[in-house]
Symmetry: D2
Subunit: 137 residues, 4 copies
Amino acid sequence: MAASSGDELGTRCSVEIRVRYVECDPMGYLHHAKYWEYFEVARTELLRQSGIRYRDLEREGVLFVVYKTACRYILPVRYDDLVTVSVAVERTSSTRVDHSYRVSRGGELTCEATSTLACVGRDGRPRRMPAALWSDA
Amino acid sequence: MAASSGDELGTRCSVEIRVRYVECDPMGYLHHAKYWEYFEVARTELLRQSGIRYRDLEREGVLFVVYKTACRYILPVRYDDLVTVSVAVERTSSTRVDHSYRVSRGGELTCEATSTLACVGRDGRPRRMPAALWSDA
Amino acid sequence: MAASSGDELGTRCSVEIRVRYVECDPMGYLHHAKYWEYFEVARTELLRQSGIRYRDLEREGVLFVVYKTACRYILPVRYDDLVTVSVAVERTSSTRVDHSYRVSRGGELTCEATSTLACVGRDGRPRRMPAALWSDA
Amino acid sequence: MAASSGDELGTRCSVEIRVRYVECDPMGYLHHAKYWEYFEVARTELLRQSGIRYRDLEREGVLFVVYKTACRYILPVRYDDLVTVSVAVERTSSTRVDHSYRVSRGGELTCEATSTLACVGRDGRPRRMPAALWSDA
């Protein structure tokens, strides 16, 4: 999967999210933990774009657990802001996938992040992903 | 279970909860949705007090879903406030249980609420609770 | 504001919300507390439809606090479900507003609720709403 | 503040947190975003241990925003698990503080993380921390 090119189906996706009141803290900022909820939304849509529903995967015993994350918060985001959350597949193996994320508001980058997810079975043990989800082409 | 008396084991329980920063909104108040998360914590401890772990019930296919709720918010609560959350069993049948809740801070009542939970199986259909959880004595 | 008719601008609004993974609990259901977060989103859009941004109101010291709520959960909703959340203004006075809510999925009603919000100032004391927000016509 | 030694008051703190039902996802695991809420709780207690309440700091216009985070999830944690969340100050300057975190359950490490917080004023611009919060001794 030539994720770096980002031209192919399923390697890149953007969603628009309106910041909710409940997601903001007493400072009035979107709480730093909530970004990971936004990134999860973006991953769901990235899969859907390839015709895959994560909830179907789970039903079949293909689960993805978050193994490693990193995030840099650049500018605060506030209630009612409309942000664009982009996700890209950076690397895949048969058992792992690395994503990168960017959050922007009005074209201005406000946050960037990365994560590594591992594929596990219902027993929590590592397993290979279905072939549709990766290729080492 | 003579819940109305409230003297017996398992009919009444109080927990202390420190309000978290993330739970407060831009007004600086504990968000109204979060109270239901506190009530859930109190119900977990109420069961534990009777020697029952809700997570064991779930493992055995005894699930409780919230069917009806009502809440009155009297005074705002803020980040770092220490509140006492009390729960009492008000009524039980073989398939349902009614709870009442009170939140107080420094002896002052800040919120009161009620809920009805229904017992369901893993298929989501109503089922009778295990006898240990209710009696119509 | 003849809210009961519901024909006028600003008395009724629907939003579509995709249920997020993080919002679902170990039963796989949208957690009952999260519905109040959805209702809040619907209220924000209801105001926007009348050309009012709640965040501007807050900046001007016009805050709305939730005073009373009630909810009936009819059918469970799951991760990735697309639900329609409708809000209607049922009654307004100079200091309070009553809303009703309905959540449906594929045309089927899954939840209904009501709330009363009170208008307060930055000091938390009751205050009259700006005239644009209500009329007793 | 000789944070590296970790022997002094205010450089190290542990809290016990019972995992809430609402914090767990359909896999049954504590959702990865929630760990940051736990770390925030631990930071609040770390400050309190030095006689400082973060909410008093905020009142005085001393705010801390999260600037950078990293996390490694080692073992899943479930509803009703009792976890120990430890935080340590790793490094401080006049405007930033680095923390490290460890989550364990029954003595077994389940997660480790780091963060950098920046001190800002009410206007969101960087400012020096009060002297009590750091020293380059």
